[in-house]
């Protein structure tokens, strides 16, 4: 408790996670809606500044990002429920770094993007946004599986409220579907987590949920498959992989703009992040056994998502289904088990957050003006809304993967890396998905921006306001930045990915044990540094 408070007051991950939720409390006292908006924006900007300062101070140019841990005053991990070896253990490394920054970046953007779209109960909306951000940051940073599970579930409630209270026509249905689907997956994951902790108690004598300690467990292949299935189901629902994706179009379409942006921008990444952080390193043999299945599902997602997006008549649905396709690329990259593909997958998680976030914002902006998202209602908007048209073109092209913009970097690395890893056929199929993406996104542009301006209502439309341009500007600038200078964004994560991959491959290439056992490596004082050293010596 004292350790927690000390961390909260100092420069720590704890502060990053809990600042938004604690900032909810003054909302109880603020009555005026305008004040609530400004306050929330201020909180969001402070949070972003805290994240950037914390990260920036630890990011040495050209070098790896040293893992950043929250430790007690005496340098040991903080116990939360000591009876079960549950720790309050937060860690930021190169894998969680980009996702944390993305989460913090999107918070002020969704506040700004909801400025006009949300017209009632701003206090509740602001509280939901802030609580959601805390939950997501916690889930990205937790390296104790119990803590991870708590954060993973915690963010369901604010997201549920966001969809259900401020959403569209079928909001209640969509909100419940979202909640139940996610919960269904995560409850089985909870059992798997308990099993892991119990197994640890069997071989090591004490319960533990800490990733560092649990990763020393070697399970026989039969148990690995079950455990991987439980974790994988939870993450596959979150990603989502076809055929578990049906909650996503409903949730996206009904959610308010801000909700869609968070959902697409970061929430889905928890699925792919979960595979990379937990499911694959903990169960390497099962992960490689499941590789064909998951790559098949990823390809089905890429092609099916693209085809379904193509036939949509609703802009938001089109963007929603494009998420299914894009996340398919990420999963393909992850299950290639290749350094280049992993780097591509990680940067693609960020890219998708930027481009899909921008697309959802743009759809929301046009919806605020016309209260419809149907293609039929539009056409020729480029003539009356040049700023809108510019932003939409850039975001759509980034999403397609035009060289010079961010999407290209991710897709290229994923495809090249997967090809290098011997997945020639999947790569060819996925390339077809890139073509399809171009088709449906160009359709989006053609049907809204170009063609005759034949509807009277559309002639009166006002272009983007300064606030709206400011909302989109950081996203668009980052699309260019990542597209032009990708190395700057890839470098901080490289070391962490290399180490994780090296360890994964080493464990995978050993035969799986016949019975549960503890890996022979001695318990390490500072596991990360040791692992880094090992990888530097042997890996490359």
């Amino acid at each position: 408790m004292t350790d927690f408070l000390q961390l909260l007051l100092g420069d720590s991950l704890t502060r990053l996670v809990f600042f938004p939720v604690l900032a909810c409390l003054p909302l109880l006292l603020i009555r005026r809606q305008e004040t609530v908006k400004r306050y929330t924006l201020a909180v969001a900007l402070v949070e972003l500044a805290l994240v950037l300062r914390g990260v920036g101070g630890r990011l040495v140019a050209g070098a790896a990002f040293e893992p950043w841990r929250d430790l007690a005053a005496n340098g040991s991990p903080i116990a939360w429920i000591p009876r079960f070896g549950i720790r309050y253990e937060l860690m930021m490394d190169g894998i969680s770094l980009p996702l944390v920054v993305l989460t913090a970046l999107l918070l002020p953007i969704i506040v700004l993007g909801s400025w006009r779209g949300i017209d009632r109960q701003w206090r509740g909306y602001a509280a939901s946004c802030l609580l959601l951000t805390s939950g997501i940051l916690g889930a990205f940073l937790a390296v104790d599986l119990f803590l991870f599970y708590v954060f993973f579930e915690l963010m369901l409630v604010p997201m549920y409220l966001m969809i259900g209270i401020w959403g569209g026509q079928r909001r209640v249905y969509a909100a419940i579907k979202f909640f139940i689907f996610t919960m269904a997956g995560s409850l089985l994951m909870l059992l798997a987590i308990l099993w892991l902790a119990w197994s640890h108690s069997l071989v090591a004598g004490s319960w533990s949920f800490s990733y560092d300690l649990l990763s020393r467990l070697d399970f026989p292949i039969s148990q690995q498959l079950l455990l991987f299935a439980a974790f994988g189901l939870a993450f596959a629902i979150k990603v989502p992989l076809v055929p578990l994706h049906t909650w996503l179009p409903d949730a996206h379409v009904e959610a308010p703009t801000g909700g869609s942006v968070v959902l697409a921008g970061v929430l889905l990444k928890l699925g792919t992040y979960g595979f990379l952080r937990f499911a694959m390193p903990l169960f390497p043999h099962a992960a490689s056994a499941a590789q064909p299945l998951l790559i098949t599902l990823a390809l089905i997602g890429i092609l099916y998502g693209a085809l379904v997006a193509w036939v949509q008549s609703d802009m938001k649905k089109l963007v929603a289904y494009s998420s299914v396709a894009h996340l398919g690329f990420v999963v393909l990259g992850l299950f290639a088990f290749d350094q280049m593909a992993w780097e591509g997958a990680l940067i693609q998680m960020v890219n998708h957050g930027l481009s899909t976030g921008a697309l959802f914002l743009l759809v929301g902006m046009i919806y605020d003006r016309r209260h419809t998202k149907e293609f039929d209602q539009f056409g020729g908007l480029a003539k009356v809304m040049p700023w809108f048209a510019t932003m939409l073109v850039i975001s759509a092209l980034a999403s397609v993967g035009l060289p010079g913009l961010n999407g290209f970097v991710g897709e290229f690395l994923i495809l090249a890396g997967s090809y290098r890893a011997g997945l020639a056929l999947p790569v060819i199929a996925a390339t077809l998905g890139v073509v399809l993406a171009a088709i449906y996104l160009l359709k989006l542009l053609a049907r809204t921006l170009w063609g005759p301006l034949d509807r009277a209502e559309n002639r009166e439309l006002s272009d983007l306001s300064l606030r709206e341009i400011l909302t989109l500007a950081p996203l668009v600038l980052l699309m260019f930045a990542i597209g032009v200078a990708p190395e700057r964004f890839l470098a901080p994560s490289r070391e962490a990915l290399t180490v994780t991959l090296a360890e994964f491959q080493e464990r995978r290439d050993e035969p799986a044990p016949v019975a549960l056992r503890l890996r022979d490596s001695a318990p390490l004082e500072r596991p990360d540094e040791e692992r880094l050293l090992l990888a530097r010596r042997g890996g490359r």
């Binding site: 939360w80 708590v150 259900g164 308990l194 119990w198």
Partner: protein, 487 residues
């Protein structure tokens, strides 16, 4: 036996919590009868009595475990912790009753007195090591409960509830008494230790002993409203005063669960113990699945909570299916969570619906999240805790239960529990979305200021949340105290 037992001073000291409760009840009656002007002090008086009993318990917590009245009554960590749960539920019910009694113009003295005597009966039941003492405690409890269930005598539905509960309760008493008779006849003992030894030695006709124990278990399964002994609960809850249901749906179940632990603990040494475990597991599965499925289709929130309570008792049975020294911890944490969230939910329901004679339709709550923000917020927290969403105490309870199941190789029980709780999430969420996401259909009734009631709501909700976030001290204490079996 010619030599009479002399009651030692220590025996009476050990009974202090019960004496405080009974004395408090008597005092309430006297105040009500002879000082009618002091009626507004009835609630504070009742609160003082319950809190006094809680304090007496805490004072006793330092004393070593021991037997009193020649082994009829025990003081142990298990009974102590469970008594605390019962008193928490009683306090919540007393808080919530104040506004209800004033609104419905029901006299308060007898109500609170009966409630305190119920609590006294339960505390005694929790400590009984001998079957006839257990039976006496059960009767003290039950008779007070019957009267309370029909306390709102102007309402036909309340009378119906009381009658149904009474008929079922009479069966329970008969079952338990017959069970005691059979067990005594075959083993020659009415004290649990003696029975355990006799069973371990294989005394008595196996069929008759089994039948006796089955009757006992069935009796307490009735009280816990486990499927298939559950049919009375929804009707009784629907008709009885909501603040009283906050007590009825929690405290007797908690005490019965502990009695079941004792009975199963006595059976643990017998040759048939594996079969008893399977039986408990079967009851757990039936209750979890049946309770949740039936709750799913309810439109009345009190009936829904009744069925959800049935399901919760199913989860609670999971640790009883593998009885060992560690059974107490998950059971007690789950009971405490259940006491806070379920009593809290019923207390809030009693405040939100202002006409107790009507149905309490969930759909009537539509839009009240903004009308009554505090109560709705607390109800939401209780629902999330009931649904087992982290970081609430309800989640921690489920976590501990599943841990116990996995440790005993009952993974399948945990899987069924998980799937059933997913169904549960669905109907708990329905309350949340009705509160916040649907347009208002009915304006809530006039709410007179009800400080005690708000206190109940806040204590229940805050307790569910904060104990879920900082459970360390609670768990440590329970692990040290709550030993289930004789060492």
């Amino acid at each position: 036996m010619s030599d009479a037992y002399v009651i030692a001073r220590g025996d009476l000291a050990a009974l202090l919590p019960e004496l405080v409760l009974v004395g408090g009840g008597v005092l309430l009656l006297l105040v009500d009868a002879f000082a009618p002007r002091s009626r507004r002090w009835l609630t504070p008086l009742a609160v003082t009595a319950a809190a006094g009993a809680l304090a007496a318990l805490t004072a006793a917590s330092g004393a070593p475990d021991g037997l009193h009245f020649g082994g009829l009554i025990e003081s142990s960590g298990l009974s102590l912790a469970a008594s605390a749960v019962v008193l928490v539920a009683a306090l919540l019910a007393i808080f919530a009753s104040d506004g209800y009694l004033r609104r419905e113009r029901l006299a308060g003295g007898e109500y609170h007195a009966l409630l305190l005597w119920c609590a006294a009966g339960l505390l005694l039941m929790l400590r009984a090591r001998e079957l006839l003492t257990l039976f006496l405690a059960l009767e003290l409890l039950s008779i007070c409960l019957y009267s309370l269930a029909g306390y709102h005598r102007r309402l036909a539905i309340a009378t119906e509830a009381a009658l149904k509960y009474f008929l079922m309760g009479a069966f329970v008493s008969a079952f338990v008494l017959y069970g005691i008779a059979l067990v005594w006849g075959e083993t020659g003992h009415t004290d649990l230790d003696g029975i355990a030894d006799a069973l371990a030695a294989g005394a008595g006709h196996p069929w008759l002993v089994t039948l006796g124990m089955l009757l006992l278990v069935a009796g307490f399964a009735f009280k816990m409203s486990l499927v298939p002994f559950h049919a009375w609960a929804p009707d009784a809850y629907q008709g009885a005063p909501s603040p009283f249901v906050a007590f009825l749906s929690v405290a007797p179940k908690a005490a019965s669960a502990v009695v079941l632990i004792r009975l199963l603990g006595a059976l643990a040494g017998s040759a048939e113990s594996a079969k008893w475990s399977s039986l408990v597991a079967l009851l757990a599965v039936l209750s979890m699945v049946g309770g949740n499925l039936m709750a799913l289709v309810q439109r009345d929130i009190k009936r829904m909570l009744a069925y959800s309570g049935i399901a919760h008792m199913g989860y609670l049975l999971i640790p009883l299916a593998g009885i060992d020294q560690a059974t107490g911890e998950p059971v007690l944490v789950y009971l405490l969570a259940y006491a806070l969230m379920n009593a809290g939910a019923f207390a809030i329901v009693g405040m939100l619906y202002s006409s107790p004679g009507e149905q309490h339709l969930i759909s009537d709550l539509a839009g009240w999240g903004l009308r009554r923000p505090l109560l709705a917020g607390c109800l939401t927290l209780c629902m999330l805790s009931l649904g087992g969403i982290p970081p609430t105490l309800g989640f921690l309870g489920k976590y501990l239960v599943f841990v116990h199941a996995i440790r005993h190789g009952h993974l399948w029980l945990a899987v069924i529990g998980v799937v059933a709780s997913l169904v549960g999430v669905f109907y708990y969420l329905r309350v949340v979305y009705t509160l916040y996401m649907l347009p208002e259909v009915r304006t809530p009734g006039e709410a007179p200021p009800d400080g005690w009631g708000r206190l109940a709501a806040v204590v229940a909700a805050a307790g569910s949340l904060l104990l879920g976030i900082w459970p360390g001290a609670l768990l440590d204490w329970l692990q040290q105290t709550a030993r289930v079996l004789r060492s």
